[in-house]
Symmetry: C2
Subunit: 115 residues, 2 copies
DNA sequence: TTAGTATATAGGCATATGCTTATATGCGCA
DNA sequence: TGCGCATATAAGCATATGCCTATATACTAA
């Protein structure tokens, strides 16, 4: 088994910068456990839909998350083929789970993605 | 042995934001192996002394690094009592060592800290 | 005390960031 | 086709960030 290739400082700093925003970091922590769509994040963060879309777009642009259309919705998930996936995952697993957000979403009947 | 307490999203995002800057991330990666003073960073990054001081200050302000005066110099090092130390360390160990910077510093006769 | 070196702080400036509202695009269904 | 919901994009604005130069402070050693 080959040694794991170290991520460049350049790419790591780009990923970490995105993770340095509280909203995005929470999104990622949620995605570590459950796939989500934009409208769910809008509900969770009580933030405008364009704001959520922009956060999601930044993470998608560098390959940190990936999208999959499911009918009317576009479901986002962590991209395990991302070069920095191991690093990201090791960070997220040190953060508290955000299940309460999902729970509230379900209680409000706003949960969309079902996988 | 107690389970490790998870770091809050809030504190983690603050730390990650600082690590999202390429200069600071490189500084931290260097500090993971060698203590350094401001004037060494000035030499390494070819950046003005106030810029270096400001980067260092931000990291010191949240407790990520600590300082120790040694005569004329103030030597900075990773603060292993920092709440997020484990997370930071696990990130840094996934990044390539920056020994070439230290090597060049020594070659130029600009290495200061000797510990 | 005075000069020299190291570091910190203040102030200014250009650019980046995160949010908003307005509008466009894409898909599902009657 | 046309309406409704989901998402994306555009434009604008306030604040944050990172750099610089100028200057202040702190320590060493002559």
């Amino acid at each position: 088994m080959l040694a794991k290739e170290a991520m460049s400082i350049d790419k790591a700093s780009t990923a970490l910068k995105l993770m340095g925003d509280k909203t995005r970091l929470t999104m990622l922590r949620i995605l570590a456990d459950h796939d989500c769509c934009v409208c769910e994040f809008v509900e969770i963060f009580q933030m405008s839909q364009p704001s959520v879309s922009q956060h999601v777009r930044k993470m998608k642009d560098i390959g940190m998350i990936k999208e999959q259309r499911k009918g009317q919705w576009i479901v986002y998930s962590l991209n395990d083929s991302f070069e920095g996936y191991d690093m990201i995952h090791s960070i997220l697993e040190q953060l508290p789970a955000q299940d309460h957000h999902l729970k509230q979403l379900i209680e409000k009947g706003k949960r969309v993605s079902c996988n």
